[in-house]
């Protein structure tokens, strides 16, 4: 078997192992190490690499942003900001048809600005909003669907752990990616609200609206969420303005959310311990995947597969837009069954060089940002599609009486808006890039 064939065969092997419920990180390490052995014929190279590879990966300064963002998200969860955000959103939207559900989505967007994880956003906002939605008589499927979808705003609205990983793999500017993610993220929130509004109008139901809140009171609730705004501006603005490195910004964010939790009186030793444990679990999991993806991708580059693929796609003379469509569809498909971070780590090193070589009529820098945002959105759709949509599971486990089938159904309209948004952003790159251009012009 040639090295090239070996590399091609490694994909199905990897998939079978993963479908047998092998931890993804372990499957990548196993296939990567095994493949490298078959190519070279001796385990010595891998063994020698391992002397420095693990420490080198874990001590990589760029990656150190990840544990800090995870910690920041955990502190944000404790801070009580979820309740304030929901109340503020409700004072503006609650009196509209479907307004309480829209408020939940709006609050998710706000929470996404200080939390880079979808699961944490879904879990935190679910706790606050699900009982309220029930109280106002919303259909169960709408409540769970809206919150699961709203949870994805945690990742779509910067800061975002997936964007950080993409930035490192594709060698893109993290700050610009965060800025580029902003408008698509807000469009996502808007799309979800529209979906709720349409749902409420098209299918009659018993959901109540909350009383209209007078403006002075609205401004008062708005004033309670200043820490969110301050932290968001400090983190994203600080990186963009060159005040901090991204890692420093994440530390500032973690400190900011910690202080918010402390002053709100919600922080306790037990809560702090829990936050650290959750950060420990996710960090350990993510870095093992990063390590595994590194080993597996080393094997692939050894076989020259990425270069050969890039060359082959270039020679076929496919339309770039066709290739983009196929790639995005593939991400959507795999996103339904696979964890989004593993998918990005596994595929971006192969796919990005292929894509950047195609001519979309924009500069490589612009392309890197635009493609990153598209990938971010399509992998996140996987969180709210069956069969393996983690956000759906999290929200469903919180709404005990709602059957999972109802949650699946409830998520559908939101998935639809996701697909429409991806098509829009793909067709009009300027939507994503405009804000970056404007800020860069200053």
């Amino acid at each position: 078997m040639s090295n090239f064939e070996l590399a091609l065969w490694s994909f199905p092997v990897l998939l079978v192992l993963i479908f047998l419920r092998m931890p993804i990180a372990l499957a990548m390490i196993g296939v990567g190490v095994g493949g490298t052995y078959l190519v070279i014929g001796t385990p010595m190279m891998t063994l020698n690499q391992l002397k420095t590879l693990t420490y080198g990966t874990f001590s990589n300064y760029s990656f150190s942003i990840i544990p800090l963002f995870l910690l920041m998200g955990q502190f944000a969860t404790i801070s009580g900001m979820s309740t304030s955000l929901f109340k503020a959103a409700e004072s503006f939207l609650g009196h509209r048809k479907g307004g309480v559900a829209m408020s939940a989505v709006g609050a998710c967007a706000g929470f996404g600005a200080i939390c880079g994880s979808s699961l944490a956003t879904a879990a935190t906002m679910g706790q606050v909003a699900l009982p309220e939605l029930k109280r106002y008589g919303y259909p169960d499927s709408l409540s769970t669907g809206a919150l699961a979808a709203g949870g994805t705003l945690g990742i779509l609205i910067p800061p975002s752990v997936i964007l950080v990983v993409y930035a490192i793999l594709a060698e893109q500017n993290i700050a610009k990616l965060f800025v580029a993610a902003l408008i698509p993220g807000l469009l996502a929130a808007l799309g979800y609200m529209l979906a709720i509004s349409l749902w409420m109008r098209l299918s009659p139901n018993a959901a109540q609206v909350s009383p209209r809140v007078p403006w002075p009171e609205r401004l008062r609730t708005l004033s309670t969420i200043w820490p969110v705004l301050l932290i968001f501006v400090a983190v994203v603005g600080g990186i963009y303005g060159g005040l901090f490195t991204p890692t420093e910004a994440a530390a500032v964010g973690a400190a900011g959310t910690f202080l918010t939790a402390l002053f709100s009186g919600a922080m306790s030793l037990a809560k702090l311990t829990e936050a650290i444990q959750k950060t420990a679990g996710s960090t350990g999991m993510i870095f093992l995947i990063i390590l595994g993806a590194g080993i597996y991708n080393n094997f692939l580059s050894l076989t020259q597969l990425p270069q050969a693929t890039s060359l082959w796609v270039g020679e076929q003379g496919f339309s770039p837009w066709l290739v983009l469509t196929v790639v995005l569809l593939m991400y959507l498909l795999f996103g339904c069954v696979m964890d989004s971070l593993s998918m990005v780590l596994l595929t971006v090193p192969i796919i990005f060089p292929v894509m950047v070589a195609l001519d979309f009529g924009m500069s490589p820098d612009d392309f890197g940002l635009w493609f990153g945002i598209l990938v971010l959105i399509v992998v996140e759709v996987g969180l709210i599609t069956p069969p393996v949509g983690l956000n759906l599971f999290i929200i469903n486990s919180m709404a005990k009486e709602t059957p999972i089938a109802a949650t699946y159904r409830g998520a559908l309209p939101f998935v639809l808006t996701d697909l429409i948004r991806v098509a829009l952003l793909a067709a009009f790159p300027a939507i994503t890039l405009w804000l970056v251009w404007v800020i860069d012009a200053f």
Partner: protein
């Protein structure tokens, strides 16, 4: 006996996770102090950024991440795909889980062994970090604490999944 081992593994994983978390909190604080110091430079009051804060972040972060691995292993936090869980019989599922845990224990052991050798290399080269001049082997040594914990906890997890398999077969 099993309860004692379980308690031991849990304590190791829990303690290391908290120690790693403490390192993370210290790094967060130091980074913020360093930023404030840097902002105060123009004031010329003798304040400045912490020298070598980036090196310290790298060393501390690596130690923290190694220390988090046992906790991720003990709590089975690893990302996996449950798509075909329905198709896999319970006993077979437990058997596979046992195999995967054995594989993880081997990976943990080999990784730790190589990390140890790597540390010896760095010691003999006398390599230090760029700015703070921290000997690199010390970073490796700090990482080894978590890595050894990972091996121990991974071995316990083999035992745990073996026991689950036995229970699943008995049922």
């Amino acid at each position: 006996m099993y309860r004692i081992l379980e308690k031991t593994a849990e304590t190791i994983a829990g303690t290391l996770a908290l120690a790693g978390g403490a390192a993370l909190l210290v790094l967060t604080t130091l980074t913020c102090v360093s930023i404030i110091g840097r902002a105060a430079v123009p004031l010329d009051i003798g304040l400045g950024p912490i020298r070598g804060i980036y090196d310290m972040t790298e060393v501390g972060m690596a130690a923290a991440i190694f220390a988090f691995l046992p906790y991720a292993q003990f709590t089975e936090a690893h990302a996996r795909v449950d798509l075909f869980r329905w198709a896999i019989q319970d006993v077979l599922d437990q058997l596979l889980d046992l195999l995967f845990n054995i594989a993880m224990a081997i990976v943990a052991f080999v990784g730790t062994w190589r990390l140890y050798l790597g540390m010896q290399d760095k010691m003999s080269f006398g390599e230090t970090t760029l700015i703070a001049q921290i000997p690199v082997w010390q970073g490796y040594a700090a990482g080894l604490v978590g890595a050894v914990g990972f091996v121990v906890v991974a071995c316990f997890c083999v035992l745990r999944s073996g026991r689950r398999l036995a229970l699943a077969r008995a049922a």
